[in-house]
Amino acid sequence: MTLHSGALHIDLESNVRVRPETIGNWADLNLSGLADGTSRAAIMTVGNNSLGDAPLSYRVQAGAPGALGAALRITVRRGGSVSSGTCTGGALIGGAGAALNGFDAPMDLHLAPGQSHHLCIQVSLPAGSAIAPSASSTVTLTFPAKQEPS
């Protein structure tokens, strides 16, 4: 049995050991003016900058309140790429076009210290959603991490 001392740090984008970490308005994913039947996508980098030998597992969770939030759908692909507002390729995490509000899926691989994953995150508003114009909802993407045995 290995006894570990150190600290666990899961970081987004280029952040290093930021705690607590919240990217207030993730600029890469522009969800303004999202019309029915359209989608947007961007790449989120998730890294393990832990101190010490601390591999981690993590989940991808998403939430968004209101009628717009209830209508939004999400697709997450580890290692996927963005193509015309959609994510293609890579490993599908948690199902394609899942309801965004309440989305909670475990990542299929652990992250070793120093490693990172590139997650393609696609958010779409299905055709016929009939959400009122100028509706707004704050989409929150949460990445809870847990130390795993090395």
Binding site: T22, A54, P144, E148
Partner: protein, 328 residues
């Protein structure tokens, strides 16, 4: 054997025997009093119990647990986790525990339902490192060598007076160690961390319909199916259309009719038709139609209405009238 050597040999054997006895007694105490020594393999309970600390835990029923206690439970994957109780909810004879490591910002994702739990009473810093070393292959090998040496000392030529109990204790301790029945457990006090990103999602700003295209169905000679037809592109399921038909010259006159048209998709066309006017509706009179775009969600108007000029014409052989586009 000289007196000094004999004293050294007896001392070694007595110390070994005492340690073995302690080991067995701790094992026995664990069984009798539900005590579990815990070696912390990670450090989320630092500084109270850092990685490598040895904690002594005693099993207590769920009813005796309270917020702030450090407890050791088994998670869904079968791994032992030791964290502090952040919240507790009674569930009959059991309790649902929400745990959190002292250095973690968030509680454990998994709640734990327990009828009893090992509550940590105190800890000994670094003692876990020693136990961990003893449990390693190197430690087991070193212990075997030590036991062999002690046995040789005990049962070597001329040493048969060494108490048999001490030797038995040493052998029993070694046997337990080799069998892997260590009287302690390793526990994870795993770390957690969370990162978040937020994005504001919005739908497009409201839009209103285009100026309608008016098409008269006017035949010569007049038939009984003349009409004025207003058309414009649909705006999607969010929008409906409220209309009014006024007799007179815009913006005045008398309201003749009104109604609401349902939403039409962006690839479709909205149609509003005005045909026969009942007797008395007025012949050769000016009319106009106003159309508002409205939100389906709250029926509020979007922007200003459009106005389309119309006029009425006589119906052949009858008192009624038809509607046509434009002015007379």
């Amino acid at each position: 054997m000289s007196g000094t050597k004999r004293v050294a040999r007896e001392t070694l054997l007595w110390v070994g025997g005492a340690l073995g006895t302690l080991c067995l007694l701790s094992l026995l105490a664990g069984w009798l009093f539900h005590l579990t020594p815990l070696v912390f393999s990670s450090g989320s309970m630092s500084p109270a119990y850092d990685a490598g600390a040895l904690g002594i835990a005693r099993e207590v029923p769920a009813a005796e647990l309270s917020v702030g206690d450090v407890v050791s439970v088994v998670d869904a994957q079968g791994s032992r986790v030791t964290h502090r109780i952040a919240a507790i909810e009674s569930d009959g004879a059991a309790a649902v525990l929400t745990l959190r490591g002292d250095t973690n910002d968030v509680v454990d994702a998994q709640p734990y339902r327990v009828e009893a739990a090992d509550r940590v009473a105190f800890g000994i810093p670094y003692a876990g490192y020693a136990l961990n070393a003893m449990a390693s292959p190197f430690g087991v090998a070193a212990a075997l060598l030590l036991v062999t040496a002690l046995l040789l000392l005990a049962f070597g030529r001329g040493h048969r007076l060494v108490p048999l109990g001490l030797a038995s204790t040493i052998v029993a301790g070694a046997g337990l160690g080799v069998a892997g029945v260590a009287p302690w457990a390793f526990t994870s006090a795993y770390w957690t961390d969370t990162a978040r990103a937020t994005v504001t999602a919005t739908t497009p700003a409201p839009v209103s319909h285009q100026q309608p295209v008016c098409t008269s169905k006017e035949t010569n000679p007049k038939t009984n199916n003349e009409e004025a037809k207003l058309t414009w592109p649909g705006l999607g399921p969010q929008y409906e259309f409220y209309w009014e038909l006024w007799k007179g010259t815009s913006p005045g006159g008398t309201l003749e009719k009104s109604g609401t048209l349902p939403p039409v998709g962006t690839s479709g066309t909205v149609t509003l038709q005005f045909g026969e006017i009942p007797s008395g509706g007025g012949g050769n009179s000016p009319f106009y139609a106003k159309v508002w775009t409205r939100l389906v969600s709250d029926h509020s108007n979007v922007g200003s209405p459009t106005t389309t000029l119309l006029h009425s014409g006589p119906l052949p052989n009858g008192p009624n009238w038809w509607m046509y586009c434009g002015t007379a």
